[in-house]
């Protein structure tokens, strides 16, 4: 799981173009969205949906599902490990 969390941090920095942030700056349990934590928004959520499909073969059809799954990197990693098809 720790390995997946590290990998996810790297992928998120890359896909969301978070230039000034390093993997170690991200608290895996901090909220990804909103003013605390990374401060991501709805468009980032859409990019994360694409990331999950591309890299882990998980297809979400309803953007609202993302609200639960993208709470934090840990929650996301947990969901991926249970649902990944690749």
């Amino acid at each position: 799981m720790e390995q997946l969390i590290q990998k996810l941090k790297q992928e998120i920095i890359e896909v969301l173009n978070l230039e000034d942030i390093k993997p170690d700056d991200i608290d895996a349990n901090a909220p990804l969205f909103g003013t605390e934590g990374l401060g991501l928004d709805s468009i980032d959520a859409l990019e994360l949906i694409v990331l999950m499909e591309k890299n882990y073969g998980i297809r979400l059809q309803d953007p609202n599902q993302g609200k639960e799954i993208f709470k934090s990197i840990s929650v996301m990693a947990d969901y991926i490990s249970k649902n990944r098809t690749k």
Binding site: L16, N17, D20, S42, I43, L46, E47, V50, E53, P63
Partner: protein
């Protein structure tokens, strides 16, 4: 300054044409509306793997459209957007009974965002390697599409194209009306056209706003929009002109409003600020009260977000008494850039035949108000039509029954006669990012030589203009837009501009190209939403507005080499009639090495020093004392004859009372060439002007423009 207050020039609609999923022509469209036959069906014509999304396709193949139009598709490049546009325009011109010898006096203004994308996505890989379809490289841009539509009928006086995403056609109507009000034209042809492409089908899919079933606008169960396609055109003319030639009015264009939501690139605000302002302006422009509106054709896309926002705006403007409203997108699908005029024609049909179009598939309300859900006969005197676009480019058009009493418009100013009473227009500031040192005028003393076939812009330090979390999603062209805008505003000292008017030939071509490349090479799955969001031409103008929190007038012109001149023309029209006191006019184009290679193959940049362009300039009708020069007038013509060129110059000089002047063809050695490099030419001219008025001329095989500057010593 004393200005004569008078009634708005009465603008009549004397011709209308429409093509959409519910029919070719007004008769079929009317039947479908009355018989409640939706045009939403499984995909049939678009060659895509995304077959899970129902759409509103025009039920004709390209070949069938060519046959109807008498076009040999083997002898000339055609795109689906252009073909649909021709079909609809044919109907409008025929109804208005405009004879072709009049066209050379008539401006034609279109709205599109997709332009020639249907062929670009089909032939993109061939452009790169095959070289068998290179004639389609230059049919890609929005302006080329307008030219194809217009050229099928004859030579029109002036051509330009609005590209404000889904409000494009509505804004084309507004620009056309402004030309009539200014006395620049007696008659204009305005409209929009857009076909469904894989590009935006996948783009909308990546934003997760497409419904897999038929859309249900305003219904509690709504789950997104269905893409549609089509075209619609209107012939607008002054009542004098219509009377003189005995043309029958279908309705009046009574008023209009344009405002910017300035909230988010793809989402709409919770309080509906943009829609509210646009509708309010439309009512105010004609001086009627909200309770006089008999029907509203809403934007009503069927996304959760849009419909909530629009209802919030309706409540703010109309209170408890919201007039009957419906979204006809449940019939046609969302015809994106063309929706403004497609829905305008639907409004005209409803007014002529006294009925309220039904909002199909509405059963349960949520917090939105209830739309018209059963067929209702009703005489309609004033009808409002909404069109909102990504980036918060929101517009509303107001139509009045042609038998309605004359419309009082106490706040409006007629442009007649053209006189010295009109406010002068000053160029207060201009900032550039180009091949020269950015955001300064070092180029005057120390010009950087252009040595390569393509010189990209020297970047500024964007950190001082844009916070990092916002900057990460912005392409280079957007950062340049914000940096030049903020610099120009600071220099001019005007605070938030009353209007932001942008010209761009290709928009965010870097992101468009990446999206297109992925689409063509990797297939249609997993397209990235950020790339798509940044591919619309109005991205720069709307992001600048969001950045400045500017809710004022906001449009983008995308007509290849006259994109900037069109934006300037719009600003001059509004400043001169006193609608606004200042405006920021911008021009932005970026260029990638790969797209540069394509444009060289297509014949545009071959043998030239290609560059990129970002210019923002502030114009105002007051000169606080620091103006660079006066912009004393301009002319823009499409395919003019030698005589017409001379007449344009003579007219321009006479109007500004200028006899002694210099003339320049721009500064390509300093600033190079791109679609909007005429903006850099004007920027340079404004700095280099000395004792005499200076005419900045632009001329290519199609377009001709003249801009007259007067030094401030003589202002």
């Amino acid at each position: 300054m004393e200005l004569s207050i008078a009634k708005m020039t009465d603008i009549l609609i004397t011709g209308a044409g429409i093509v959409s999923a519910i029919g070719v022509g007004k008769d079929e469209t009317l039947r479908s509306l009355l018989e409640e036959r939706s045009g939403i069906r499984p995909l049939k014509y678009l060659n895509t793997t995304r077959r899970e999304f129902p759409v509103g396709e025009v039920q004709l193949s390209n070949d069938e459209m060519c046959t109807l139009l008498g076009i040999d598709s083997n002898s000339q490049p055609t795109t689906r957007t252009a073909l649909m546009g021709m079909l609809a325009l044919k109907e409008a011109l025929e109804q208005a009974r405009l004879s072709p010898d009049l066209y050379q006096h008539i401006p034609l203004i279109s709205g599109t965002t997709v332009g020639g994308m249907d062929k670009s996505e089909q032939y993109y890989l061939d452009f790169l390697e095959g070289d068998s379809r290179n004639e389609y490289i230059r049919t890609h841009d929005c302006g080329a599409c307008t030219e194809m539509i217009a050229d099928h009928f004859g030579r029109f006086q002036l051509l330009t194209t609005l590209s404000t995403a889904c409000s494009s056609a509505a804004n084309a109507v507004i620009t056309g009306a402004e030309l009539i009000r200014a006395g620049r034209a007696d008659c204009v042809v305005v409209g929009g056209s857009e076909c469904i492409t894989k590009f935006h089908l996948n783009g909308f899919a990546s934003l997760m706003i497409l419904d897999r079933e038929s859309c249900r606008p305003f219904d509690a169960s709504r789950a997104g929009l269905n893409l549609g396609e089509g075209a619609a055109w209107l012939v607008l003319e002054s009542s004098d002109h219509a009377q003189k030639r005995g043309a029958e009015p279908l309705a009046h264009l009574a008023g209009y409003g344009n405002a910017c939501d300035a909230f988010h690139q793809t989402a709409t605000s919770a309080d509906g600020e943009g829609p509210y302002r646009a509708m309010k302006l439309a009512l105010e422009s004609v001086g009627i009260t909200p309770n006089q509106v008999d029907y509203i054709n809403t934007h009503g896309t069927g996304t959760v977000n849009n419909d909530l926002t629009e209802c919030a705006a309706l409540s703010r403007l109309f209170g408890e008494q919201v007039p009957p409203f419906s979204s006809t997108k449940a019939f046609t699908g969302h015809t994106t850039s063309a929706s403004g005029t497609i829905e305008a024609v639907i409004c005209l049909l409803a007014m002529q035949h006294s009925f309220l179009p039904v909002n199909l598939r509405f059963t349960n309300a949520d917090s939105c108000q209830k739309p018209v859900s059963t067929a209702t006969a009703k005489p309609l005197r004033y009808v409002l039509s909404n069109a909102f676009g990504f980036g918060g480019n929101d517009s509303a058009l107001l139509f009045a029954q042609s038998s309605a009493e004359p419309v009082p418009a106490p706040k409006l100013i007629t442009a007649e006669p053209i006189s010295a009473q009109r406010p002068k227009v000053y160029l207060l500031s201009a900032a550039q990012i180009s091949a020269q040192q950015p955001l300064c005028d070092d180029w005057i003393e120390h010009p950087e030589p252009l040595t390569e076939p393509l010189t990209r812009s020297r970047e500024a330090d964007y950190k001082q203009f844009i916070p990092p979390l916002e900057a990460r999603r912005m392409g280079r062209i957007i950062k340049r837009a914000i940096a030049t805008a903020k610099t120009a505003i600071d220099t001019a000292g005007i605070g938030i501009p009353e209007a932001i008017i942008t010209g761009t030939g290709l928009g965010c071509i870097e992101n468009t190209e990446i999206f297109l490349d992925a689409l063509c090479r990797e297939g249609e799955d997993q397209m990235m939403p950020t790339r798509f969001m940044s591919s619309t031409h109005n991205t720069m103008s709307s992001l600048v507005a969001i950045n400045l929190q500017d809710h004022g007038y906001n449009v983008t012109y995308a007509h290849n080499t006259v994109s900037f001149q069109s934006a300037l023309m719009d600003a001059l029209l509004q400043l001169r009639r006193g609608a606004i006191g200042n405006a920021m006019v911008c021009a932005h184009d970026e260029m990638t090495p790969s797209y540069h290679a394509l444009l060289c193959k297509g014949g545009f940049l071959a043998g030239k020093k290609a560059t990129e362009c970002s210019v923002s300039m502030v114009l105002a009708s007051d000169n606080p004392g620091n103006a660079l020069c006066e912009v004393a007038g301009m002319r823009m013509l499409y395919r003019p004859t030698e005589d017409e060129r001379q007449q344009a110059l003579d007219g321009l000089l006479k109007e500004a009372d200028v006899t002694d002047y210099h003339l320049t063809d721009g500064y390509p050695d300093l600033f190079g060439t791109c679609y909007t490099s005429p903006a850099l030419d004007l920027y340079a001219a404004a700095h280099l002007i000395k004792d005499k008025p200076l005419v900045v001329r632009y001329s290519d095989e199609k377009h001709y423009s003249l801009i007259l500057l007067r030094p401030c010593s003589a202002c």
